[in-house]
Symmetry: C2
Subunit: 298 residues, 2 copies
Amino acid sequence: MIATLLAPLRAPANVAVGPGDDAAILADGTALTVDALVEGVHWDARLNAEDVGFKTLAVSVSDLASVGAKPAWALLTLALPDEDLGWVSDFARGLAAACERWGVALVGGDTVFTPGPKLVSLTLGGPCVASPMLRSAAKPGHIVWATGSPGLASLGWRLSDPPQEALDALRRPDPPVEFALALARTGWVGAAMDLSDGLERDLPRLCAASGVGCVIDPDRVGRHRLLVDEHWANAVSGGDEYQLLFTTPPERAQDVRELADSFDVWVTPIGTCDDSGAARLTDRAWPGASFRHFGGRS
Amino acid sequence: MIATLLAPLRAPANVAVGPGDDAAILADGTALTVDALVEGVHWDARLNAEDVGFKTLAVSVSDLASVGAKPAWALLTLALPDEDLGWVSDFARGLAAACERWGVALVGGDTVFTPGPKLVSLTLGGPCVASPMLRSAAKPGHIVWATGSPGLASLGWRLSDPPQEALDALRRPDPPVEFALALARTGWVGAAMDLSDGLERDLPRLCAASGVGCVIDPDRVGRHRLLVDEHWANAVSGGDEYQLLFTTPPERAQDVRELADSFDVWVTPIGTCDDSGAARLTDRAWPGASFRHFGGRS
């Protein structure tokens, strides 16, 4: 659908990075992203209005951080089927908390009526703090790293009665923003992106953009006591995680660990890039299309 | 609803103009706006997909032009209930035509599934070409000007079998962008805004922001052979027009006419600002709430 949409449009002039990466980057170094969330598709009753407000910004902050840009300003579209001021007030409180946390100014917006479900769309902009981290610069031999415990939010979505930790991951994404910005400043990174659609879908995009393959050890992804046994697939195929996926030359391994420690961020080397052109797991097949983002369409 | 939304949010730092004007303006002079259109609310079968694509950009171009900013880049959210590639392809063709026309690069976007009606939301940014034109600088004694023939798009929406000219205005908004930018460069303007919600709703906003009143001659607004007799109210109360409303000191009247002529833009002095604090018509009441934007909720 995106290819259909872009077909008649000219390649944008005066733009350093256009559609395809986590954020577009203008010639002046401003990074831009937009994300929409639809009630019943991207959230359900497990998220209250305040959670939705917080998450609306968090998912875009993750996109900007993953290219090495500092979130600065946002514009919001809110489409609502009724004038539920209680919901709007709670949503605004969650959004304000996220704005405070990441230093973002909400500078404009549009509110419209829809006979359909609630929809929020947020555009976020901010300056790159260094040369942008893109999907296209992984090299064979690079270590593939992931932050945090990917899979927790997915578990929170899939279980009918999820543990609190999984619910928290689903409700309040915590992208490693400061670490990502510090990492961008080091120049160590090959390719980077956020894990919003899960490793199974995102890693092939990184490989394709970089012209590499990679082998991932599934037992190293999302190492968490909740992501074992029948729940392992959440770690490699669950979406909605907003952790950072990135590659570095192997000689930077110790530096990466120390930098992550200094930000209290958990990083794990989950695999290695090669020249195979394919993204594989060491010892098994990917869980596959049956395990999709929210079980729905994203 | 907007007040509820903004209540918990801090007044944005490092922002020259925040929510409330047609566009937000960052400290570096970048103007930003976002507009959403919902199928069945903001458009119906009178607009084909190509029209919707064109109009999606045109309405935001109008916002930017009305503060004196040149449209430059856009991000698009597209929420669709099915993967109708034919619709998307037509939509993209209309959007591409508008991007060509106004020199805008589509740099990013998000496509999501919704079980509700189609929704498009577009964020547009670009640099102010001079000090921004805002709603807040009208003064008693200023002439109130409007471009074009406000009311035609409204007529196209309201009639069951509208004349072609009214349909064209509804389908392909033609904001006077180059004239607005040239006007911003002159420094003649007091207050300015676009007429997206119609004079009856927009003029009181301008008056409130400027702390003035004004008297409008309804027979001078939207002078057009289609906007007479029972159709006059479209000119003062119809929305969806995307013409420019602005004020200047009376001694600039001839300059304004000459500038407009040079861009082949029709300008009309429709009234005068005073210190009454209210926006009135010379000889009758406003058509009122019964005559609302699309008869629906906006």
